[in-house]
Amino acid sequence: MISLTIDGHKVEALEGSSILEAAREHGIEIPTLCFHEALEPYGSCRLCVVELETPRGPRLVASCVYPAEEGAMVETNSEKVQASRRMTAELLLAAAPHAKAIQELTVRMGVQEPRVSLSDNDCILCGLCVRACKEIVGAMAISLVNRGFSKEVSPPFETGSNSCVGCTTCVFICPTGAIKLEDVLGNRSVHRWESDFDVRACKLCGDHFLGPEVSTDLEKALTEE
C-alpha cells in the first residue's frame, strides 16, 4: 500500500493505482468525462486535473493517468483546479453547445455563455467509443483520425467497416449521445459509422437483437472458445 495526502486527508491506495482511483476509493469526487472504469485511462478531457505538490512547485496533473505516489500531496478542489476545470468546461460548451451532458457540466461548474463559438458538434472526442470498441469488444472498427480541430472518430477510410459487429457498445458508452442507434423494421443502423445490420425484434419485450448472420458468427466464436 501507498500512503498519500488528498485534500488534507491521509489516505492509503493500492500500488499502481491512479490519483483518481485513490480519491474515489475514499469518497472524494473528481469530475471526469473521458474516464471509464472498464477502460484504460486516456487523459484527454483534463476535467480530472488536480493540484500536485512537486519539488518545482505545485502543478496540475490529470488524476486519471497520474500514478498515486508515496507521500504525494494532492488538492482536488483548489482555486487553481476549479479555474482550470471551468475553462475546460467553457471550451467544451463552445464546441458542443447542444450536448446535454456538457450543458449540465457547465451549469455545475458555474460557467455561463462561452466567450467564443467554435463548432456545434456533439462529439467531444473523449475516445470512449474507440477504446470500448478496441478494449471491450475487440472489434477495432473505429478510430480517431486527423489532427487538431479536424480530429474525428471514424471507421477506416471513412466508409462502413467490416469489423463493426453491430454491438452498439459505442452508442451506450458515448457521454453526449453523439452516436445514434436506429432499429427500424428489422434494420439496425449506426449512421455515424455507416453500419447496417438485419435485426429481429424480441417477441416478448420488443427490443431488437441481431439477425442470423451475426448470431451464427457469434455462436461459432463462442463454441470455439
Binding site: 484527454s44 467544451l92 463552445a94 467564443v116 487538431g148 480530429k151
Partner: protein
C-alpha cells in the same frame, strides 16, 4: 575497404588518407545543402567538374559537393581551401572565369566576392566576413570541408576517433561522467542535462534499451538539424554509437521528417558505410560492443517532435503524445528504457569525448556550456545558420552576425524557439542568450529557430500566425490544446479583422495561462507563448486594434485605408492604370481619388507612386 577491427587500424586508415590528400593542394567546396541546391549549386558543381577537366587541372584540385557552411542568404556558395577564398552567388555561367582566373592563374574574381552592406567593401576570405567573425563553428565547421557521402572524408578529418577512444579507453560510466562534466544540456530546447538523462536510462532496469535521435525538426524557420544531418551525417552517427555504448543500448533510431529527403539519403548512405567499415553492427572496432541504427521517416506531423508521440510513431501508431510518467527513460519505445536526444545534442558528443569535458566547458555561460546553432531568418540581411557560444547577446546575433535589418527599417523583435517560444523586443537586445534568461523573458531556447521582425510587422498578426500553426498541428487529443488554441486563434483573428472586443486581451491571457497549465504535452504547454509574450511586450498594439480599430504597423488589411494626398498627387495616372480593382479615378494632371468601397488594399498604388502621394492609415 576492410572492416576496421581495432583502434590501430582506424589510425592507420586515417594516416593513409591524410597522406593521399597531401598531394592535392586545393579543395573547391561547393555547398550541397538544400538551400544552395535550390539556388542551383548542382549545376555549378557540374560546370566546375567539366571546366576543370577541360583546363586539365582535375588532378591538382579536389572538387567536392559539401555540407552547408551556413550563409544561405548568399548561395550558391563556393569556398576554395585552404585559403578560404569565399565566392558567393555563383552561377554556372561564372564557372569558366572562376576556373581560368582563380584555379589556373591564382587570381581573385572580384565580381563573385562578398560585399559588405555597410562599408560597400569587397571581402575575399571567409574569416574576414562579419557573418563568420563572431561564430565558433564547432558543430558546423566540418560541413564545408567534407563530402557528406564519404566516410573516408570524415575519417581523414579525425572522424570516429572519439568513438574509438570511448570504446578502447573509457568505460560506459566514464563516458557518462565526461558528458556530465562537460555540462552539455539538451539542444532540443528544454535544456535537460544530457549526462543526467543518460545515467537515468543506463540505470533503468531492463536488458533491452533504445536510443533515439529526434530529427523531426518542424519549427517554422528552423533548419539547423537538416544542415547537420545533410552536411555531416557521420558526426551524428558517431555521437549515437558513443551514446549507445554509454547507455547500454543495442539499437538506435533516427526519426527524420520525410520533408528532408536529402538528409535521409545522406544518413542512409552513412549508415551503410559505417556498417561496411565495422563501425556499426557486431563487435564494433573489436570492442565486443554491438550496436545498429535504423532510420524512421516521419509522416509530416509536427507533434511527432514530442518524444512520446515520436515513439508512438516509430511503433506504427498514431502520433499522439501520452502522459508522463512513466518517462521514456523507464518505459519508452516498446515499453523499454529509451533515451531521446536532439540531433545537435548527439553531434556534440564526439567533440566532448575527443577534446575532453574541460575544454568543452570553456565555451558558454556558467549554467549552459558549449555552442548553439541558430537559424536566423525573417527581416534580416544575413539569413542563414549561425553557431555562436551560448551567452552571446541577441544584439551581436542580429546586428553583427546577422547584418541588421534590410531596407534601413527598425528592428522590432525576434521570435526565439518557434511556435513554442516567445518574442524578445528591442529593450532586451543585450541579454546574453541561454536557457534561463530566455525563459525569464517569456521565450524559450527551443531548437534555435530565430525569426526577426521589423517595424512593418504587426505583432498581433504575428502571434496569430503561430497560433494558426499550432492549432493545426495540435494532435487534438486533449481539450485545452485542441479547443483552447482554436479559441485563441478565433479571438486573434477577430482582433486583426477589426472586430476585437474589450476584454479580449484579458481572455487571451486567461486562456493562455490555462492551456499552459493543463495541456497534456509540451506542444500545448508552450503553444500560448507567442501570444503571451507579444501581449507582454506589445500590449499597446493589441489595444490599438481593439480600442482604436487601427493597426499601428499598417499590416492588418481590414484596419487600414488607402488615400491620395491631393497636395502631392500630380495626376500622372500610373496608379489609375494599374489598379486591379479600378478603384482610382481622376482626370489627367488632376489629383486622383481612391474609392474606399472598391479598394482591395493590395498596395499596388503605394508601390507605383513616384511622388509618395499614396497614404496608408
Amino acid at each position: 575497404m576492410t572492416v576496421l577491427k581495432t583502434q590501430a587500424e582506424l589510425v592507420e586508415l586515417r594516416d593513409a588518407l591524410v597522406t593521399r590528400a597531401e598531394g592535392v593542394a586545393r579543395l573547391v567546396a561547393v555547398c550541397g545543402g538544400t538551400g544552395c541546391r535550390a539556388l542551383g549549386s548542382e549545376s555549378v558543381f557540374r560546370a566546375l567538374e567539366s571546366e576543370m577537366a577541360n583546363q586539365g587541372i582535375g588532378d591538382q584540385v579536389t572538387l567536392k559537393m559539401t555540407g552547408c557552411p551556413g550563409f544561405c542568404e548568399k548561395g550558391p556558395l563556393v569556398v576554395i581551401r585552404p585559403d578560404g577564398l569565399f565566392y558567393q552567388g555563383v552561377r554556372a555561367e561564372d564557372v569558366p572565369e572562376l576556373v581560368a582566373k582563380t584555379l589556373v592563374e591564382g587570381e581573385i574574381v572580384e565580381s563573385l566576392l562578398y560585399t559588405d552592406a555597410e562599408t560597400g567593401e569587397r571581402i575575399a576570405y571567409e574569416r574576414q566576413i562579419p557573418f563568420y567573425a563572431k561564430q565558433r563553428p564547432q558543430l558546423l565547421g566540418m560541413n564545408s570541408r567534407l563530402d557528406p557521402t564519404s566516410i573516408t572524408d570524415y575519417i581523414s578529418l579525425g572522424g570516429y576517433a572519439a568513438l574509438s577512444k570511448a570504446l578502447s579507453e573509457m568505460s560506459p560510466e566514464d563516458v557518462i561522467e565526461e558528458v556530465t562534466k562537460a555540462g552539455l544540456r539538451g539542444r532540443g530546447g528544454a535544456g535537460f542535462p544530457t549526462g543526467q538523462k543518460w545515467r537515468i536510462t543506463r540505470n533503468a532496469p531492463g536488458d533491452v534499451k533504445y536510443i533515439i535521435c529526434n530529427a523531426d525538426e518542424g519549427d517554422p524557420g528552423a533548419f539547423m538539424d537538416r544542415a547537420m544531418v545533410e552536411g555531416n551525417p557521420h558526426r551524428l552517427l558517431e555521437g549515437l554509437i558513443i551514446g549507445g555504448y554509454a547507455i547500454g543500448a543495442t539499437r538506435g533510431f533516427v526519426y527524420v521528417r520525410a520533408e528532408y529527403p536529402l538528409a535521409a539519403k545522406h544518413l542512409g548512405m552513412a549508415i551503410d558505410q559505417a556498417r561496411e567499415y565495422g563501425l556499426l553492427g557486431r563487435d564494433i572496432l573489436g570492442s565486443g560492443f554491438d550496436f545498429d541504427i535504423g532510420i524512421v521517416l516521419g509522416a509530416g506531423a509536427f507533434v511527432c517532435g514530442e518524444e512520446t508521440a515520436l515513439m508512438a510513431s516509430i511503433e506504427g501508431r498514431t502520433g499522439e503524445p501520452r502522459p508522463r510518467p512513466p518517462y521514456p527513460s523507464e518505459s519508452g519505445l516498446w515499453g523499454k528504457p529509451t533515451n531521446i536526444n536532439n540531433v545537435k545534442t548527439w553531434a556534440n558528443i564526439p567533440i566532448i569525448i575527443e577534446g575532453g569535458a574541460d575544454r568543452y566547458a570553456q565555451i558558454g555561460t556558467e549554467r549552459s556550456k558549449g555552442t548553439k546553432i541558430f537559424s536566423v531568418v525573417g527581416k534580416i540581411n544575413n539569413t542563414g545558420l549561425v553557431e555562436v557560444p551560448i551567452g552571446t547577446t541577441l544584439r551581436e546575433l542580429v546586428f553583427d552576425v546577422g547584418g541588421g535589418i534590410p531596407g534601413g527599417k527598425q528592428f522590432k523583435a525576434v521570435q526565439i524557439g518557434g511556435p513554442s517560444g516567445g518574442c524578445i523586443p528591442r529593450e532586451h537586445l543585450d541579454t546574453p542568450i541561454d536557457y534561463e534568461t530566455l525563459t525569464e523573458l517569456g521565450a524559450m531556447m527551443g531548437s534555435g529557430g530565430m525569426v526577426v521582425v521589423d517595424e512593418d510587422t504587426c505583432m498581433v498578426e504575428f502571434a496569430r500566425y503561430f497560433m494558426d500553426f499550432v492549432q493545426q498541428e495540435s494532435c487534438g487529443k486533449c481539450v485545452p490544446c485542441r479547443l483552447g488554441t482554436r479559441a485563441m486563434l478565433e479571438v486573434l483573428t477577430r482582433i486583426t479583422q477589426g472586430q476585437g472586443r474589450e476584454g479580449d486581451v484579458e481572455y487571451l491571457l486567461e486562456l493562455g495561462g490555462q492551456i499552459k497549465q493543463s495541456s497534456l504535452c509540451g506542444l500545448g504547454q508552450t503553444a500560448p507563448n507567442p501570444v503571451l509574450s507579444t501581449i507582454r511586450y506589445f500590449r499597446d498594439e493589441y489595444e490599438a486594434h481593439i480600442l482604436d480599430r487601427c493597426c499601428p504597423s499598417h499590416a492588418c488589411k481590414p484596419l487600414i485605408h488607402y488615400s491620395i494626398d491631393v497636395e502631392k498627387c500630380t495626376g500622372c495616372g500610373r496608379c489609375l492604370r494599374k489598379c486591379p480593382a479600378e478603384a482610382i479615378s481622376g482626370a489627367k494632371k488632376e489629383p486622383h481619388v481612391i474609392d474606399r468601397e472598391k479598394c482591395i488594399k493590395c498596395g499596388t498604388c503605394l508601390e507605383l507612386c513616384k511622388f509618395d502621394a499614396v497614404v496608408v492609415e
